[in-house]
């Protein structure tokens, strides 16, 4: 089947929008998802999972399961306790962080509903599932610990050897004395916001297939993962198996959103069972298992307090977080709220800031990164309290922001939280957003509806956000005690025929790396977009890399690629000078051709040079016969995309139903490689942020059972539940080689407070000052009811 592309041939470089290279196989179903793969003889795993949140495991009777047809083995936690005592946590955020063991299959106790207690291995999946149903586990129930504040009393301790449910206390006071600042302030506003738990919900569930090569002791692992490289290293670390004997492949991966930034027990068990049985072993989770066991996102209680002068000048900010770890610390669980520590001051100038965070264990699914990871929570809280402060000061919330934000002349700007923002133009993005939104017109309509007592009230929500992404400068990660660096690797290789092979260490799962990285290469080398292949997601093909998360693929991986391509150009220039018998200084390079200054006819195309160096008949003595460039890029700073999102909601005050009438997003992500892909990232990000604001939320009952166990109860919005977004961009180049900023998480970070600010804005005449997320019709209706009684706060 052929894709028809009859657009101009110059599409394909930086700043253009070639249709994605990734699409042809995706729109025709010729895909390679992990679950599509099963070599002959593959064994299938089914996990037996805890049916209660907290219990001591008595006996586990696997005898019936072991005798069932097609069953090859049944294993419990004890079977793997020596091979893998614990899954990894790579981010000990404080020196005294409590770091309990997290066996891949529970040993002795289960600590959340869904904790695996046994695994059945069978010749087919149905037999495995049938047998798993027969495993009898004798539990001695213990009280569930669902509420974070309750957990901190340590009446019931999850990890008894540790003696406490407090995982860590992290404190970061910066700037002026916080108590003096608050004591001297005219106005102090304090709020408590709840960040509900969310399910990241990539549409492809997790899946893993481990194929052993018994003779050599090699293992090939296919996994629906964002992090093949990190997974490989971590599998070696936690099992003691040699890293070079493990190959990880992330084939087509159907979304991640942070949830596939994980080293899971199921992956470890697939490896260990394959090792033990010498056969390929596979596991694909069901959606119910996803909801129960794929790590959750968010889950924080935020106490935030802001101090200002009576004129609205910000003075200081205090943040006290309770962060729900869930039952165990997974790969970066404790680090997620700490990433937020740097973002609470947002785009605002102030002199004093204090961030405290307490990590708390509960008998619930572990939390970890979900799109934005710590930064959406921070942005939500600061953007919400800016609106509350504006209300307190009786100021327009946009005016309050303008009074306090960093002006574009002030960049680079050193923030009170310790970061230096390299670039930004909040005025420009805001002006464009206000224009597209018709801010004044909507305010006038709002006033009219209020005056008329209209059943449908209008609310306007603002989010003037920034975020830090492009994770991350390795030295900064080191200061934060993260267990690895934040660089990225790229290789550019000229093939003999003049085609180009690009190898990246970042690992896509929907972002369009093949397209975007081809565009960068096309512009850097002057070769056609279609002549470039991009390889990724296989530790054998791309041995060095740190994968995809934290909006890093372009701002770290893309710049690594730009540098690698630069090395190819340097080598090619040297070769061209040699073949053209000119000085290197006299060689000009443009559009893929090296020519001698002043003699345009004396030239060599990069393709000709590729063939020449392959033949290697004639090349400089101080050069190897090779046109390959390899680069590792370790950024000096984070990336700071920003923008202004404006949301107008209509609330039916009789039913509490909220609908989004207008949503305008003006983002500044610096220079843009592919505008269509950038817009797509913004759309998807906004949708997920709106989902947090209005629809989604994990619910547990008092016994720690997950109530939102399927997509019937956990409400992921479909097309009718979301509006069309009006998007535009301003372009303030970042201080890096490509001028680019990350975009993957920006929409999610920006949109949640825009929506909730709009909901609260609509309800202010009713005395409402907050609505907990998700802002369900019932919550909105109750807020109106209690607000009218003077109760809502």
């Amino acid at each position: 089947m052929t894709v028809i592309d009859d657009r101009p041939a110059d599409v394909g470089g930086v700043g253009t929008a070639p249709w994605r290279k990734e699409d042809a196989h995706l729109v025709t179903g010729q895909t390679t998802w992990t679950d599509n793969l099963a070599p002959v003889g593959t064994l299938h795993m089914a996990f037996v999972r805890a049916t209660m949140a907290h219990a001591r495991i008595g006996s586990i009777d696997t005898s019936e399961a072991a005798g069932m047809p097609n069953v090859v083995g049944v294993f419990t936690g004890a079977d793997f306790a020596e091979e893998c005592p614990t899954l990894p946590c790579a981010w000990p955020v404080t020196p005294d962080m409590v770091h309990p063991a997290h066996p891949p299959i529970a040993v002795g106790k289960v600590r959340f509903a869904g904790d695996p207690v046994a695994v059945v291995v069978a010749r087919d999946r149905a037999s495995a599932v049938d047998a798993a149903e027969t495993v009898l586990v004798d539990y001695e129930p213990l009280p569930a610990v669902v509420d974070m504040e309750q957990s901190l009393t340590d009446e019931v301790v999850l990890h008894e050897d540790e003696g406490t449910n407090k995982a860590f206390f992290f404190s970061m006071p910066t700037g002026a004395d916080i108590d003096e600042t608050f004591a001297g302030a005219d106005v102090v506003v304090k709020r408590r916001f709840i960040q509900q738990r969310l399910l990241p919900t990539p549409i492809e569930p997790r899946a893993v297939l481990c194929i052993p090569q018994a003779a050599s002791g090699d293992f090939t692992i296919y996994s629906a993962t964002q992090i093949p490289h990190i997974l490989r290293t971590m599998l070696a670390v936690v099992t003691g198996m040699p890293e070079h004997k493990i190959r990880v492949i992330a084939p087509d991966v159907g979304g991640g959103f942070g949830a596939k930034l994980q080293v899971t027990g199921e992956e470890v068990i697939a490896l260990l069972v394959a090792k033990r049985l010498g056969r390929p072993v596979k596991w694909t989770e069901t959606r119910s298992e996803t909801n129960l066991t794929m790590h959750h996102g968010r889950g924080q209680i935020q106490d935030i307090e802001i101090a200002a002068t009576k004129d609205g000048k910000l003075l200081g900010l205090k943040v006290d977080l309770l962060a729900d770890m869930g039952a165990y610390l997974m790969l970066v669980t404790p680090g997620v709220p700490i990433l937020g520590a740097f973002m609470y001051p947002a785009i605002y100038k102030m002199d004093a800031y204090r961030f405290n965070c307490t990590g708390v264990f509960t008998t619930k699914t572990p939390t970890d990164a979900y799109r934005g990871a710590g930064r959406p929570e921070a942005t939500f809280a600061i953007e919400r309290i800016m609106d509350e402060l504006a209300d307190e000061l009786d100021m327009d919330p946009m005016e309050l922001r303008k009074l306090n934000w960093i002006t574009h002349e002030e960049f680079p700007y050193e923030m009170v939280a310790g970061l230096t923002y390299d670039s930004g133009n909040y005025e420009a993005a805001t002006a464009r957003a206000m224009e597209l939104f018709d801010y004044e017109g909507l305010r006038a309509e709002q006033a009219q509806r209020r005056a008329d007592g209209d059943r449908i009230q209008l609310g306007i929500g603002i989010s003037t956000f920034t975020e830090m992404c492009g994770l991350a400068p390795s030295r900064v990660l080191g200061q934060l005690d993260y267990g690895a660096g934040g660089w990225e690797a790229a290789t550019v290789r000229m093939l003999p025929s003049g085609k180009v092979q690009v190898v990246t260490g970042s690992s896509p799962h929907g972002q369009g790396h093949e397209t975007t990285l081809s565009q960068i290469t096309s512009s850097a080398l002057g070769v056609p977009f279609d002549d470039i292949e991009v390889l990724h997601g296989d530790t054998q093909v791309s041995p060095m890399g740190l994968d995809t998360y934290g909006s890093r693929s372009l701002v770290v991986g893309g710049i690594a690629l730009q540098k690698a391509a630069g090395k190819v150009v340097d080598k090619a220039r040297k070769l061209a000078a040699h073949l053209l018998e000119a000085s290197e200084d006299d060689i000009e390079f443009a559009d893929g051709t090296f020519s001698v200054k002043g003699s345009p006819d004396a030239s060599k195309s990069i393709q000709e040079l590729a063939l020449a160096i392959f033949a290697a008949h004639d090349y400089p003595e101080d050069m190897e016969p090779d046109l390959t460039g390899h680069a590792i890029f370790d950024p000096e700073n984070f990336s700071y995309p920003h923008g202004t999102h404006l949301c107008a909601v209509e609330i039916d005050t009789e039913t509490g139903h909220t609908s989004i009438r207008t949503y305008v997003a003006v983002d500044d992500v610096g220079k843009v490689i592919n505008p269509q892909i950038v817009e797509g990232q913004v759309h998807g990000g906004i949708a997920q942020g709106i989902a947090q604001a209005l629809y989604e939320g994990v619910v547990y009952d008092d016994d720690g059972n997950l109530v939102t166990g399927t997509l019937v109860d956990y409400l992921v919005p479909a097309a009718p539940d979301l509006p069309s977004f009006t998007t535009d961009r301003t372009e303030t180049p970042a201080a890096n080689e490509l001028g680019v900023k990350g975009v993957g998480e920006a929409g999610t970070i920006a949109s949640t407070p825009a929506v909730v600010n709009a909901v609260v804005d609509a309800l202010r005449p009713y005395g409402v000052h907050d609505v907990e997320m998700p802002c369900t019709p019932e919550r909105v209706w109750r807020a109106i009811q209690s607000g009218q009684k003077g109760g809502a706060q």
């Binding site: 089947m1 025709t28 991966v253 159907g254 369009g512 759309h683 479909a718 977004f725």
Partner: protein, 164 residues
């Protein structure tokens, strides 16, 4: 049953879901499984010309029926190897990112356009209420379906201005 124009005769266990039969017995892995409660629509195929969720139908229920999956879709168009206009439009409008929901989304869109050859934005959104996408925010999917509608009405796969 006939799948994508090919006749198959198989013995199936009654409990085998249609989607598992397509994927595991017939090797037609273009159709994906995204949930277990018929919410996500990733598994959408056509049975006798109507969209169904193949995770909520037994394979045996498709006995004697005609099944069309994403992998047979293009062949129903011009027979000359072109993509179906929906596939082409999803590609051009950037209506997919990870692509996991895409086969189901396209097959649901095919049904939608058969019922309503010229849908409005709202009609597209409501017509696709049984399919979840986590990447795109749906806006480009709506755009793609409307662009494909124009192309299907005109019987061409050539790229087309997207209707306002």
């Amino acid at each position: 049953m006939t799948v994508d124009g090919t006749d198959y005769t198989d013995d199936v266990e009654p409990r085998t879901l249609l989607v598992h039969h397509l994927r595991e017995a017939l090797g037609l892995t273009g159709t994906n499984v995204g949930c277990d409660t018929s919410n996500c629509g990733a598994c959408t195929v056509h049975v006798d010309g109507q969209s169904v969720k193949s995770c909520t139908m037994l394979a045996i229920q498709a006995d004697g029926r005609e099944v069309l999956t994403i992998q047979g879709l293009a062949d129903t168009w011009d027979g000359e190897g072109s993509l179906h206009p929906l596939q082409q439009a999803f590609h051009e409008a950037h209506a997919l990112q990870c692509g996991y929901c895409t086969p189901g989304m396209i097959m649901a869109s095919l049904d939608l356009l058969a019922e309503n050859p010229d849908p409005s934005d709202d009609e597209v959104r409501h017509g696709l209420e049984g399919n979840l996408c986590r990447c795109t925010g749906y806006q480009n999917i709506v755009k793609a379906v409307r662009a494909a509608a124009v192309q299907i009405r005109q019987g061409s796969t050539k790229s087309q201005e997207v209707p306002a």
